[in-house]
């Protein structure tokens, strides 16, 4: 099966009230497709973290989930402001989230690690002042 879009959704900066909606509807879709529950959970967690990343750290963006016979691809793109030091951003516990966000229980500095941990492959295209693009692949 050729790669097809499963879900596409715009995400606004700071829109916590809708946080988790994309990953919730995705979980439902994966169940309808009969995707194994362990795989579904990994895709859901990765999508949720990417979703929250856009809400917390970016100026807004979009998530697209694509499926083929071999894999599920979660692509998160945003409109900046970019990650100056990617390596540092992946260090457990490192976070640039402000007190407000931390007060809500987010921004503990594990998000990117979680994404990496639950993906089979993760590519990040970013840089200071640039748009960021995360591509996470989970094999079927």
């Amino acid at each position: 099966m050729q790669e097809q879009t499963l879900l596409q959704s715009k995400i606004e900066q700071g829109d916590f009230t809708r946080g988790g909606e994309v990953s919730s509807s995705l979980k439902d879709v994966l169940r309808k497709l009969g995707i194994k529950s362990e795989t579904s959970r990994r895709v859901t967690i990765v999508t949720y973290e990417l979703e929250m990343n856009i809400i917390i750290h970016s100026l807004g963006g979009e998530i697209e989930v694509l499926i083929s016979s071999e894999q599920i691809k979660v692509v998160a793109t945003d409109r900046g402001p970019g990650i100056p030091d990617v390596e540092k951003a992946f260090q457990p516990g490192f976070s640039t989230a402000d007190d407000f966000v931390r007060g809500m229980g987010f921004g503990a500095g594990m998000g990117l690690n979680n994404i990496k941990h639950y993906s089979d492959q993760l590519t990040v295209e970013t840089g200071q002042g640039k748009k960021s693009k995360f591509t996470a692949i989970i094999c079927l």
Binding site: G20, K27, K32, Y48, I67, N114
Partner: protein, 450 residues
């Protein structure tokens, strides 16, 4: 893939009882209250009757709670069926003691003996033992676990959260472990298997279902359940005749009795574990929690005590006393407990296998075809009004769309689409009416020619 209303049965099996929640068809008005409140979307109103889809029902009894017509109900054995057995044993769940306004549990037990039970066994004892086992397990394992004592929660997870089945703590429920023990003890005493009848005084249909469809264990050690509501009056009438018992003489598992309400299980964990445990009750709140847990959004919790009924087992639909009162009374009983009963072992809590997830709700077994159906589903959702009025008999437009795609419903089941179709038809009709027969169309034809 949904199999609707007629369940495919393996060849040679005539009828398999699957659920405890039943419908009194003559009382059902087809109002869809139960349809909308069902946590697994297992109910559809068809031909004016609220039918339950077997594969989705978890026997949580929410439909029984919400049905104003009392059309949804549940059945268990009656107290009299005890006489079918020469050696009937009563298993008393912790919540049972919340039904008698704080009467000494020992007296309640005496009353049950008077009613004819040969043995009256407290499930609270097994609950205390399981608490010890859970502490040991949590200390020896680093994972995050969910209590598997509420069979409805286990079924909910297997069906809606299959990815979380590995988090269910791999132990039998106290009722099952207790049932197995009393059964083995009775047989060892020389009671013949056919003479032995193990009865659970159940607070909920969910536990009744475990008798014929066990959760975790292969076969249920319980022969029958009797709804609390069906023993309540009998116990009350005998209680008057039972003198109060000297408490000093007796070991009552007061702390285990605390299990009858939400939070009672956590209170028996070691203090440091209580700090990293969470208790949630009520099926809709349990679902909300599992949604968060499933997306890895609950941090710092190692153990979840989840009960399908609000307030825990005291909230079961078979109870007579309202859950607020029962909870308050049970708390008072629990506070009498100083420590757990010692030398209370001999239960086998280890599961014979693991909890297996169920795969339900697939559009098609083949991924490509499922994708095609998913596209169809989106088309249907776009056509439906999105009002979630449930007048079609499905809980919401999304579910009706699924039913249309899987071929068990049609667009005209939606009253708004039906109305639109009728409007379109009426317009076509009135247009046709304005069309004149050819013999009367003369002028117009002339106009055109001219």
């Amino acid at each position: 893939m949904f199999v609707v209303f007629a369940t495919a049965k393996p060849m040679g099996v005539i009828s398999v009882k699957k659920h405890s929640v039943l419908l009194r068809e003559e009382l059902c008005k087809g109002c869809t209250n139960c349809v909308k409140n069902c946590p697994t979307k297992a109910i559809r109103v068809h031909n004016g009757k609220a039918m339950i889809r077997d594969e989705l029902c978890i026997d949580c009894a929410e439909c029984i709670r919400i049905c104003a017509q009392h059309a949804k109900h549940s059945q268990t054995a009656e107290l009299e069926e005890m006489s079918d057995y020469k050696y009937p044993i009563a298993l008393v769940p912790p919540s049972f003691y919340g039904q008698f306004r704080g009467v000494n549990p020992a007296r309640v037990r005496m009353a049950l003996f008077k009613l004819g039970f040969e043995e009256v066994q407290d499930v609270s004892l097994a609950a205390e033992s399981l608490s010890r086992k859970t502490c040991e397990f949590l200390m020896g394992n680093s994972g995050i676990y969910i209590s598997s004592s509420c069979p409805v929660v286990v079924r909910l997870i297997k069906i809606l959260y299959p990815e979380l089945t590995e988090h269910l703590i791999p132990f039998k429920a106290p009722t099952d472990a207790m049932g197995e023990k009393v059964r083995a003890d009775a047989l060892a005493k020389g009671i013949k298997p056919e003479e032995l009848g193990v009865f659970l005084l159940t607070p909920c249909p969910g536990k009744n279902t475990t008798v014929f469809d066990p959760v975790g264990v292969k076969t249920s050690p319980i022969d029958k359940t009797i709804a609390v509501s069906l023993v309540y009056q009998a116990v009350l009438s005998v209680l008057e005749k039972v003198a109060d018992v000297d408490e000093g003489e007796l070991e009552v598992p007061y702390l285990g009795i605390g299990w009858g309400q939400s939070g009672g299980e956590l209170q028996l964990l070691l203090a440091q574990m209580q700090d990293s445990s969470l208790s949630v009750s009520g099926i809709h709140r349990v679902k909300a929690l599992l949604d968060e847990f499933s997306r890895n959004n609950i941090k710092g919790v190692r153990y979840f005590e989840l009960s399908a009924c609000e307030f825990g087992c005291v909230g079961g639909v078979f109870n007579v006393v309202n859950p607020f009162q029962a909870r308050s009374d049970l708390r008072r009983l629990r506070s009498r407990g100083k420590s757990m009963i010692e030398h209370n072992e001999g239960y086998d809590f280890d599961l014979p296998g693991r909890f297996e997830p169920l795969q339900i709700g697939r559009l098609d077994g083949d991924l490509e075809r499922a994708m095609e159906k998913l596209a169809q589903l989106e088309e249907e959702i776009a056509v439906l009004p999105g009002l979630d009025c449930a007048a079609c008999g499905a809980p919401d437009c999304q579910t009706l769309a699924e039913d249309i795609v899987t071929g068990v419903a049609s667009r005209s089941d939606c009253i708004f689409l039906l109305r639109k179709q009728m409007g379109d038809l009426a317009e076509t009709l009135s247009g046709l009416l304005r069309e004149l027969p050819p013999v009367m169309k003369k002028e117009k034809v002339d106009d055109k020619v001219g």
